[in-house]
Amino acid sequence: MDLITTFFNIDVLRQAAPLLLRGFWLTILLGLTSLVISLSLGLVVVLIRLYAPKPIRFLAIAYIDLFRALPLLVLLILVYYALPFVGIRLSSFWAATAALSLVASAYMAETFRAGIEAVPRGQFEAAQTLGFSWPRMMADIILPQAMRLVVPPTTGVSIGLIKDTALASVVAMPDLLKQATQTQAFYANPSPLVGAALLYLILLLPLVRLVSVLEARQKRSR
């Protein structure tokens, strides 16, 4: 058996393609859903973490610490296999979305915090002096500056999140990796796995490059 027919078997790939693409689509959907939720949740958590009254602030700190410490795979299995015992039964898609969003939002919150804390105090004072209410100050003055600062690290966290969607195959979600392992077993040929790897690269390589470009641009504008 030569290398080509083993790892890049065109016939197998052609037959597996519809399933792989369906899996790819699901991976993208899972990644985007979790991304939107974790960005919003991360923003809420960081604002509580920084500005809520003390007792509530500690809850946000506990949240951030907990979900950064807990392995994603463990959380995913807990959500999918343990929650049904208390009557919460999530589909594999929503179980994966929940686990991914909880963990990613904790990282997002910490990333955002670095950005908000990097905005000079004078910006807060100028806004307050002009009479801005707190929500308006955050929305118009502070967050736009903070978010600009954290675009590269936030993109980095997003890349990690999309990569971690592959873990969803563990809870029987027919994502890209799951489709690939199933078709590999069916055809007794590893080409679908190689195909899946290539699809992951097509999705993520541009994003990885983007982070580097953004970081370089930010360094130059300093």
Binding site: Q123, A126, Q128, T129, L130, G131, R136
Partner: protein
């Protein structure tokens, strides 16, 4: 204008500070500060670094909280709650470091607060912003961003931004201290023309020439206390306290 603070009792002062004390942990930043500011009055606050000048004006719009005593601005006690929004809308501030919003154009910097805080329609706020920028001599720079301007230009934008809220009182916290020497004049000129419009101004400054020329009253502070105050010519030419005399002779020799 009358320059004797004792003679202001007839008109209600726009700012009253009574027995104001301010502590930072174990540092006593303001000690028994009492000050009445009349409407339209221009006050220069001078004194050595760390004497509490900036802290004093920062307490007026509650960028710093006071430990005890009372500050009243235009009838409203300065405290957390509803009054604070009122006070901050009436009191504008210009900072040493300008603190322009770097992600907004010059025009947006000046128009944003009227739009967001006062709810003025965008077109109207921008029209007014252009007028203000013209008044500070920056008509050609409305579409630039703060980092494209010199320090003196940035500070003039900051003054226009504060004016856009039509404040009754303007606080200046060492507005020329961060500027290159050749840009100090353009900012002082704008401030001097403002003083003539009747807006109440409290200016923390090291520019003694400006204080003498423009202020109605000069307040000398040291170690968190108001040591002496009076008309500029009186205080500069004939200081009554040793400390004011020592400070003034030190800076005059420094020149």
């Amino acid at each position: 204008m009358s320059q004797n603070p004792a003679s202001t009792s007839g008109t209600d002062p726009i700012i009253t500070m009574r027995k104001v004390e301010k502590h930072y942990q174990n540092f006593h930043a303001l000690r028994d500060v009492n000050l009445d500011v009349r409407r339209g009055e221009v006050i220069a606050i001078i004194g050595p670094s760390g004497s509490g000048k900036s802290t004093l004006i920062r307490c007026i719009n509650r960028l710093e909280t006071i430990s005890s005593g009372e500050i009243v601005v235009d009838g409203a006690k300065v405290e957390e709650g509803k009054n604070l929004a009122f006070v901050r809308a009436e009191v504008g501030m210009v900072f040493q470091q300008f603190n322009l919003f770097p992600h907004m154009s010059v025009l947006r910097n000046v128009a944003i607060a009227p739009i967001r805080v006062r709810g003025i329609p965008k077109a109207e706020a921008e029209k007014r912003a252009r007028q203000l920028l013209e008044r500070v001599g920056l008509s050609d720079h409305v579409d630039k961003y703060p980092d494209q301007l010199s320090g003196g230009q940035q500070q003039r934008v900051a003054i226009a931004r504060a004016l856009a809220m039509e404040p009754l009182v303007l606080l200046f916290d060492e507005p020329t201290s961060a500027l290159d020497p050749e840009m100090v004049g353009e900012v002082l000129d704008v401030m001097q023309s403002l003083a003539a419009t009747g807006v109440t101004m409290l200016v923390v400054t090291h520019e003694m020439g400006f204080a003498r020329r423009v202020a109605d009253r000069v307040v000398f502070m040291e170690a968190g206390q108001i040591i002496e105050q009076g008309a500029p010519n009186d205080l500069f030419d004939n200081p009554q306290t040793d400390r004011a005399r020592a400070f003034l002779s030190a800076i005059m020799h420094g020149d």
